[in-house]
Amino acid sequence: MTPQLVIFLILAAITVAGAVSVILQREPIHSAISLITVMIALAGLFLLLESEFIAAVQIIVYAGAIMVLFVFVIMLLNAGAEERTNMSSMARYVGVPLAIFLLIELAYQVGAATSSMTAQPVAEGATRALSMLLFQDFVFPFELTSILILIAILGALVLAQRSEGAPAQRAQQ
């Protein structure tokens, strides 16, 4: 076994274990931390593919920004442990078989598609290549996506303002 394979197996095990732990933990904050672990292990997998830029961005954006918001909200709501309920019959007889079927199908398709492929390390200057793709070849979809996100933020703001602002306006009149 090469050192790369050993590191890959360790990181992959951490990723899967973390992902399972996200679902199984009862405290929301523990689930969030498991998710952060998954993000960081994924960044390690990106490093293994020699895409340092993606790895760093993965940590900065997902582990460092988005998950901080999650943790912030959990702390703000002071969310306690979840209550465990027995599975509903719907989930037991329809949900579980469907989930297992989906898992098998995905595993089969991914396995079939990548059986003849080996992971290719990205060439030197990957950051430049990526920025060329984003800001030249795909600049229109890229900007469109950011406008879409902006509209979503504005929409959320409008909704939040409306429910709070209406009684205040009435009080002023």
């Binding site: 760093a56 702390m75 950051t127």
Partner: protein
């Protein structure tokens, strides 16, 4: 590459890691001493003076005290997170320093020439930001796991503050990335080599394309907020929420938070000197007429050595021996710096550490001069002043780069 060479490189890196770890932990201890001395001077006091001459052994006494105190865990604490939070803080703060290059020369360890940096990676700058961005979990989780309302408030404040100021921090260096076109910290320094009109260094702060004055302004303020230092230390504001996120911590776990704060101060100061002040580059041009500047390190060591020896004569007892001894060691260092093989070698680290010390002094100066912000002021300033200014800097720098290319 054969196996023995690979092992030598691995061993050499390991030696570098251990040496740097030792240096950083010592630097952290004496940074606390430095801060207390500067604070005392600002407030017209003496500061630490009892333990050793000029309180120089105070860090040792503090360390022993931290180790000997009772280590308590509050009732109802989330034990696992309560234990990991200080570890996260300290580990991330110290490992970020691995990316910092200290000089241009390379050292020979076990026959392998390695540069004065542990991890010279292509995305060094991003890697440091990655470390600082997950550093917030140390504070947030400490606040959550302590099962105390003050800690929770501190953790909440800290996570909101860090999200807000991280944007400005990252945006403030985009101007430099536009000028240099690389994330590699060593290359970022090399791009700042040269002099405008023969005497003004082409550091990014004074860049001939577009001086990064706004960039440094935003970077420094955002960095103070990121390291939770006054006037942005809302997370531990003692007049409002006892001690914030580390209210419930005692003994060595508290010491870990404390050391983490100072270690991240050092990282931020190193980064400021690399990004804006030309890192290890000398502020003097290396022309034949300016050859004397190479003797500045030796002169500084010699002068401080003489000052220490003279100072030692004013003391009685213990300090009368130790201070002149320290002075003699500095004198020997100064003599060492004059040796032909070493004189070129010390230039890089000397100028780098001088700049870092300068930034650290400003850091401490700000803390003991400005009063703490109120929370709404902090948020308003971060989003309505700092963020637009950082954006403006990006726009102006891109314009300048396009026009002057």
């Amino acid at each position: 590459m054969n196996d023995s060479l690979a092992y030598s490189i691995l061993l050499a890196s390991l030696i570098k890691v251990l040496v740097l770890l030792f240096l950083v932990l010592t630097a952290v201890a004496y940074l606390v001493w430095f801060e207390r001395k500067v604070a005392a001077r600002i407030q017209g006091r003496w500061g630490p003076y009892r333990v050793g001459p000029h309180g120089l052994l105070q860090p040792l006494a503090d360390g022993a005290k931290f180790l000997l105190k009772e280590d308590t865990t509050p009732a109802g604490a989330d034990r696992l997170l309560y234990f990991t939070a200080p570890v996260i803080t300290l580990t991330l703060a110290i490992s970020a320093i691995a990316m910092i290059p200290f000089g241009p020369a390379s050292v020979h360890i076990l026959g392998v020439a390695t540069p004065l940096v542990i991890a010279n990676i292509n995305v060094g700058l991003l890697a440091i930001f990655a470390m600082t961005s997950i550093g917030v979990y140390g504070v947030a989780l400490a606040g959550w796991s302590s099962n105390s309302k003050y800690s929770l408030l501190g953790g909440l404040r800290s996570s909101a503050q860090m999200i807000s100021y991280e944007l400005s921090l990252t945006l403030s260096v985009v101007g430099i990335l536009l000028l240099a076109g690389t994330f590699n910290l060593s290359e970022l320094i090399l791009r700042q080599d040269g002099f405008t009109w023969g005497y003004l260094p082409k550091w990014n702060l004074l860049s001939p394309t577009f001086p990064q004055v706004l960039g440094l302004f935003c970077y420094f303020i955002a960095a103070i907020a990121e390291t939770n230092r006054a006037p942005f230390d809302l997370a531990e504001a003692e007049s409002e929420i006892v001690a914030g996120y580390h209210t419930e911590y005692s003994s060595f776990k508290f010491a870990m938070f404390f050391m983490g704060e100072y270690a991240s101060m050092i990282t931020v100061a190193c980064l400021a000197s690399i990004l804006f002040l030309g890192g290890w580059l000398s502020p003097f041009p290396q022309t034949p007429g300016m050859d004397w500047t190479r003797y500045i390190p030796a002169a500084v060591f010699a002068a401080s050595g003489v000052a220490l020896i003279l100072d030692g004569l004013h003391h009685r007892s213990f300090a009368r021996i130790t201070l002149p001894l320290l002075g003699l060691i500095l004198g020997a260092l100064s003599f060492l710096c004059l040796q032909p093989g070493i004189i070129d070698y010390v230039q890089g680290p000397f100028w780098f550490l001088t700049k870092v010390l300068l930034v650290l002094f400003v850091y401490v100066w700000v803390r003991w001069t400005l009063p703490r912000f109120r929370y709404d002021q902090l948020m308003r300033f971060g989003w309505k002043v700092l963020f637009p200014v950082a954006l403006l800097n990006v726009v102006l720098t891109s314009l300048a780069v396009v026009i002057r290319r």
